[in-house]
Symmetry: C4
Subunit: 229 residues, 4 copies
């Protein structure tokens, strides 16, 4: 059942590790099944060199595990809320990559300082508010998903496919898990460059001209895109 | 004698090098034997590509080397004091990893700035005081162990499995050598992220909300843990 | 047609990736053909592990693609303007390498702070002005080439073989694509060292004495060079 | 002639590259021959993947090349002056490693901030003065050697086996080329940690207590050393 999706999610988890975005077991990738009824996700706490496609866990959109010997990632409920809330996404990545996580810890959004950023995110990478004590007690992971959705109100998740959870780390998505991994790679690079830009100018700026941002984003995305084959 | 422990300590030393926590021969790993009467440790100054399980040195808890052709790590006395003082630890790692050592040199504790930290250390990674001239003359390595133990008074070494020795470098531990290596990897990552957070905010902050810290730590540790398989 | 140049451009693109100057598909290399009538360039958006010499695209100096199944790099027009304008260059590299791009984002030129810089660039690595909205609408890539040429007025492109496009990233060149890759490697290293020098001194300085700059540059370049075989 | 020394110098040059201390061809290693009459050095500008033991160049202490098809490193005269001036050194390394070179560019000595430094250098890593215009015109490389020797007056080159040439990069030495490479690795690590310590404390400090410095150095060096086998 869903063997191809399991294979894809396995490969995307491995790709995440190969891109040096994962330390120890701090990261996970999921992908929606083709019928949109469930998603496949990394098993919890299993090290990357012990992963195999069969160990991937299927979870339906109500949060129930379907036929698996493993427990799903402890972040599964966060993934689930995002799939329920964002219509057009098909893959999600969570990492504690070193630069993006530093912005999440600093509780600072990543402004668009250059075309590298504009190629992937059409504006600031947003930051959630902190969860309240009550939200954490009632359901930490599900409420992490909810504060992400709250923050993305009036933001198109296709055009800004990443968010920083305050004090925690990034969640990144895309039309499938492979695209989500690509966006996570881009996020880490722009976070490093934003920090270094600040070290040169003394501020998180200057911000890229909005017309350059629009140009670069639409060069790669949408019906007038002309990047790629 | 203690062949399995020798094999494990060998593997943990190699893992430490593979995780890029060791430069030249600046690092060593030890593990308590199953009977709790001795520990096995890396030989002094032997390069990591010349290590083998047979070269590991057995030292009893009185500090005497048992049947070995090699001299144990020059830091052996520090390891010994920690095994004597901390009941529940079974493995110790010492490194000069670049970010954690920078905090030790700066003589600055690492506050908990995010969930990555909270997953491994339930509060500040503490800093020892400097040794006095007399302490160094009387027994540098044994007194290094003692200032660590002094600093850990009223701190649970299971819940905070690392310390920064002022002007020197970190010592890290765990229930066995493999877990100690994992904690050393985590320490280096949180040290790098703490420095980068400071570069963004101008201070070693903001500190993570205490209720988030508790939640993340207990998600991975203790009887209500639900992370992993 | 131009098989040898295709092979060379393929190898230079691979070298660029191996030198860790490329993230995802953010980079491209081109080289002028021996007859000077066209240049060979990486296809747009093709990942580095799927490249082959046959996929390289030939473009003539009027901007028309010659016999190819692939679309050329989206930055092709920028390369073309540079080949038209700078007589003596035979290869061009574009990257979003992390340190050089941070300077482009910060909109700060890289002054010559040491002999490493002087060995490759006889003075500041210059920064272009930002493109206007009109220039972007009329032809983003061609006008990127034009602001580079504008900035290089009164600068010898052989003696300063790199430029930072404001808010974007570097373009680097050389007598052929291999030399351009070498200059891109040098640029990234001097950018990192310039940032670190600033972190030590609080400024992008001190600047290297001009007579040392001249000495180091002429040691490696020109008729009195005595570096190499 | 001197085949064994050629082999050793070849291996040390390769080790330097494997330790990531060399970018492009920016680095070279030499070693004194057993009879003390000459030294063997890397050929100028030859890339590290094209090196072989036979390509190493023999130069006598008067500066004349002995039987070689290659020109020696352009820094040969600097090496020669150091061999002539420092009695007890047998190997020399020159690199443009990224952190140590940043200190050379900043023209800031590296103070001893921790035991990692103390294990290899018994005090500040010193900085030369800049060469005058006349010194550069009269003999750049030979005078580079001379300003190093001038700076090392009243410093024991065995106890401080490295120097930063202002605006240029480090020279490092040891009793043979392998030890010199080890010292170059140590220098780069302590330079990175010194910069990071400054980023935490706002200054290049605090400096390590002098009695700890002495203890750590003598633990590894001299007749009372007890580190290693």
């Amino acid at each position: 059942m869903y063997e191809k999706t399991k294979q894809r999610v396995y490969e995307s988890n491995i790709a995440l590790a190969e891109k040096n975005l994962v330390i120890l077991t701090w990261g996970n990738v999921s992908e929606l099944t083709p019928d949109g009824k469930a998603f496949v996700i990394k098993p919890s706490g299993v090290s990357y060199d012990e992963l195999s496609p069969e160990k991937m866990v299927i979870v339906n959109l109500d949060g129930h595990v379907i036929e698996s010997d493993y427990r799903p990632s402890s972040d599964t409920e966060t993934h689930r809320i995002l799939y329920q809330s964002f219509d057009k996404i098909g893959g999600i990545v969570h990492t504690h990559s070193l630069y993006a996580t530093s912005f999440a810890q600093a509780r600072v959004e990543i402004p668009c300082l250059g075309t590298t950023h504009a190629d992937h995110f059409i504006g600031n990478v947003p930051l959630t508010r902190a969860l309240s004590k009550q939200e954490i007690e009632e359901g930490y992971e599900v409420n992490t998903g909810r504060v992400i959705v709250e923050r993305m109100t009036q933001i198109d998740p296709e055009a800004i496919p990443a968010v920083l959870v305050a004090g925690h780390a990034p969640f990144v998505w895309g039309e499938n898990s492979k695209k989500a991994v690509t966006n996570a790679v881009a996020l880490e690079a722009i976070a490093q460059m934003a920090l270094q830009t600040k070290q040169l100018t003394g501020q998180l700026g200057p911000v890229l001209e909005s017309y350059v941002l629009q140009k670069h984003y639409t060069r790669k995305h949408g019906k007038n895109a002309y990047y790629g084959q």
